[in-house]
């Protein structure tokens, strides 16, 4: 994603609009092609040289902020590593110890007692059993600028093993590496990603987001949950009006609200919304209306609207086959646990009257009893209160909530308030769930 300083948008009459670029514009295509070429040419080379090349670039009169933005997106596809024949700090220490005994080390030899640097380097190289060049280049190989570009997209530098990337991690920082669709890096890929990234950057300051989708619900709501967004979901008709009957729903509306009380002075929640945005273009028909904090002092907000006609496209996977860390860990623990209860993925929408819930798991017993488990990663007291009220009203007796204690918003307030809430710190324990299931599961109809 773009850093905030690379964002480009215009605010007018209370609405903010990203300054999208025309993907077909030859000027931007030339810029993108040249940048991609630069990255490919620098595979195996030091990071500092890559950055300097980009820094001194003036391509096709393209606004430098766009050049930097495109470069940032390409850099996100890169891996840099220290490449050295010996530990750089060891090389340095040996060199300095040796040199201190042999000063002055001079460029122009004199008739006096002086040393050429080559003598120092070769002595240390021999000691470490590495070549002279390896010694010289390895001395500061651990500096950020000297780290090598070992991987760019799917292209790996010679002699470097492709490290298997771990997919799907959700961290509370909101900085998550979700399962990307496998794409090669092309001009179209880059320019399309850039427009999406401009829209994402506007959302860094989002306080509230309202979305409407008319297809691919499962995928979209999986991403809502993956990024730990607090949500309320309502069934809607074809025109986007809320309706009471879930069975008659053509689509769903979701309110994702960022609690200013919990995250004031922090972009964390906005970043989650920004992370979520690429899930929307996976739908054929979608709408998004967000409130963006325009002025921190006054709390004034501006509107930011997008829909499927904005021609954004997604790099996210449309296979809803990913879990948050908490969910994946629970599934793994369950396999090792000794219990008759079985953990199954729950895809069914749970009707809460005017609202719906999309639970994560069901726990089922061979004797026919069943309970539903919803994992709540991020919450405020108001949000949790609202959930519990709705659940009680909906007579969903077999619904269990697993709520994270990790956020610092006084779980004591809710202690004992509801016997179906399971508090967890870093991970959910299988037997805690089993215990609650034993108490609250109902016969499957």
């Amino acid at each position: 994603m773009l850093t905030a300083d690379l964002a480009r948008s215009r605010t007018r009459n209370g609405t903010v609009q990203p300054l999208f670029i025309d993907v077909g514009d030859p000027q931007y295509r030339e810029t993108a092609a040249e940048l991609i070429q630069i990255f490919e040419d620098h595979i195996g080379e030091p990071k500092g040289e890559l950055e300097e090349t980009i820094d001194q670039l003036t391509i096709a009169d393209t606004d430098y902020k766009i050049v930097q933005g495109l470069a940032k997106l390409l850099k996100d596809e890169c891996e840099f590593e220290t490449v050295a024949a010996a530990e750089p700090q060891d090389i340095r220490q040996l060199l300095f110890q040796k040199s201190n005994k042999t000063y002055p080390i001079v460029r122009q030899p004199t008739l006096g007692e002086d040393t050429q640097k080559l003598e120092v380097y070769s002595t240390v190289a021999d000691k470490l059993g590495i070549s002279l060049e390896e010694c010289y280049r390895g001395m500061y190989a651990d500096l950020d600028d000297n780290k090598r570009l070992v991987q760019f997209g799917h292209r790996v530098s010679d002699g470097h093993e492709d490290s298997a990337k771990t997919s799907t991690t959700t961290q509370l920082t909101g900085d998550s590496e979700e399962s990307y669709a496998e794409d090669a890096i092309t001009v179209d890929w880059l320019l399309t990603r850039y427009n999406l990234a401009l829209a994402q950057a506007v959302l860094y300051d989002a306080t509230r987001m309202q979305i409407r989708v008319w297809d691919s619900f499962g995928t979209v709501f999986s991403y809502v949950k993956l990024f730990g967004l607090m949500h309320r979901i309502y069934p809607i008709d074809g025109a986007g009006n809320r309706i009471a009957d879930t069975d008659a729903a053509d689509g769903y509306e979701a309110i994702l609200d960022g609690p200013a009380s919990l995250f004031s002075k922090s972009r964390k929640y906005g970043i989650r919304m920004a992370n979520f945005l690429p899930a929307l273009p996976l739908c054929d028909r979608w709408e998004m209306e967000a409130e963006i904090l325009g002025d921190e002092a006054t709390g004034n907000t501006v509107a930011f609207d997008l829909d499927h006609t904005d021609d954004l496209s997604s790099h996210y996977s449309s296979q809803g086959d990913f879990d948050s860390d908490v969910e994946r860990t629970l599934a793994q623990k369950w396999e090792r646990a000794n219990t008759d209860w079985e953990l199954v993925r729950e895809d069914d929408v749970l009707d809460l009257g005017a609202e719906v819930m999309i639970p994560d798991f069901a726990v089922e017993h061979p004797d026919g009893r069943r309970a539903i488990l919803e994992v709540v990663g991020l919450w405020t007291p108001e949000y949790l209160d609202d959930r519990l009220t709705k659940i009680r009203e909906a007579d969903a007796d077999n619904l269990l909530l697993a709520v994270s204690e990790r956020l610092d918003c006084s779980s004591e307030d809710f202690e004992g308030m509801d016997d179906r809430v399971l508090w967890f710190k870093s991970g959910i324990h299988v037997y805690d769930v089993v215990e609650l299931a034993d108490e609250h599961a109902t016969e499957m109809s």
């Binding site: 001194q56 003036t58 002055p104 080390i105």
Partner: protein, 185 residues
Amino acid sequence: MDNHDFDIWKERGYQEFLKRSSYDPQGRRAFVAKQRAEEIARTAEKKLDTLDNLLKRHHDDRTIIFTANNDFAYDISKEFVVPCITHQTETDERTEILERFRTGEYSMLVTSQVLDEGIDVPAANVGIILSGSASKRQYAQRLGRILRPTDDRQPARLYEIITDNTKEQYVSTRRRQGVSTSADG
């Protein structure tokens, strides 16, 4: 198209130049050229030869070499095999280098600006400034840290190596004016 409807020498002219260089292609080119010129002035090859001569003269002393940018500090570290401290140096390694300098195990040190504040720098009797900013306070602090004779025989010395006919000459003059003014007052 008129790209010169502001005067760089007027008040706020430089700020305007910086602002324009982010979106105006010609402004951008001018900015890149200015960066290159400054880089060349700072790291002029000649300076290394001058440094070479100074190090020959002072290799028995305790010397700290100052640079204003990291790259140049590392260049010197590699060229003269001198321990180097920059803001990129990990705390452990920085502590270790300073300690070795204190005990005399190392007699030379090259550093960018990190020693300016909050770090207890061991005494040295020779300081060499290779390039710097015009900040008066920073300069005075550097002087204060260097001007500590390690024994009675020799006074402490401070050298400044600048490139002739570049912006550095002007910066250096202005800086020294600043120091003498504060010494008088």
